[in-house]
Amino acid sequence: MKVVRENFVPVALGFLNGGGGNSLGAQTPSGKALSGELREALKKWKDLPEEERRKVEPPKVDPPRLPPGGLAIRVYMRPLKGSPGAEPQRISEEEIRKNPKDYPTWVIDPSEKRFSARLYAEPMGDILWLTAEEVQSLVPQNPQVGAAFAVPAPVARRIIRMHLKNGTQGWLGYWPQDHVRSATMTLRVEKVSPVLRMRLEGAVVIADQADVSQSKIGYQPQLSGVLDYDPAKKTFTRFDLLALGDTWGPPGDYSRPGRNPLGVAFELCKGDHPMDQAYPFALYFPGKDAYFRAESAK
């Protein structure tokens, strides 16, 4: 990592901003590959003529941008270990290796280079984007302490369908509308000055069958959260949300067996972490239109 930090300009690319398959490698500013290990690539770089090293080729990509006036929020999905009556716990690489039958088989497959047990135990990240209009829809006019209101549907639907996902198994996707069996998401005004503080509470049942006990895939979290809105700055200064409950499926070796706790936490992007530059995965799949109009995605 030190070699990269000191000698290269590191750039991370996904489907929508110039990336594609999984790879790591050195390039010139004009996009020419410098093959070989890091030090070999550096030698090739130093051997290039000055003119070649200064030549910049603008890439033909139009990366997704946060809508003007919108809000970017970090999302962390963490697989947890549960036992009856106890607080769900983080899992560790050691725990996975000691109890491999409790985890997807590929996590401990020695040929699996991309997604080791250590990485599986860590949270998976994503980004939630809200438009300026959606941000304003969360701010009540003339707020009164104790007043409560439902989170507006476009925001609630996006959070539930695009972000309350079990991304810990490597692929995010989204929930079909008819899998959302019930959902409540309420904001209650706790104080109005100097910042407007609202507590979020709710519960969601997502399952592929109406009879949840028979469903093969789902998530059933309780929601809690704290949102602070600064009227002087006209922006949210805190957007902490937590979904915590059991998830299960889909059937097959790819998934963790049985029902297990999953935590999904949200917090504001502060611009001090590389992930704050990321875009929501769902902009790629199911796509931008479906993401911003979550009610229209099937």
Binding site: F8, V9, G14, F15, G25, P63, M275, F281
Partner: protein, 78 residues
């Protein structure tokens, strides 16, 4: 009057304690889900995500790019 005030305070204490306990529980659980100090080692590298800007910076600083590409979005789903 004093008795009434005392009664009000005493009767409100359990609810206040519950609120505080609930708030502490939320803070603890929320922090529990986030990456811990020994996790997300990839974030120790100052990754950029705008290829055009990264190429300009590389040329200006006289450095090559180190390009990490991934299906999905690497600065999250990695």
């Amino acid at each position: 009057m004093i008795k009434q005030a005392a009664y009000f305070i005493i009767s409100a204490l359990p609810a206040l304690a519950q609120d505080r306990s609930g708030a502490e529980s939320f803070e603890r659980r929320h922090a529990h889900m986030k990456p811990q100090a020994d996790e997300w080692k990839w974030a120790q590298v100052p990754w950029m995500s705008d290829l055009g800007e990264a190429r300009k910076k590389a040329a200006a600083e006289g450095k090559p790019l180190y390009v990490w590409t991934m299906a999905g979005e690497p600065l999250g789903q990695c």
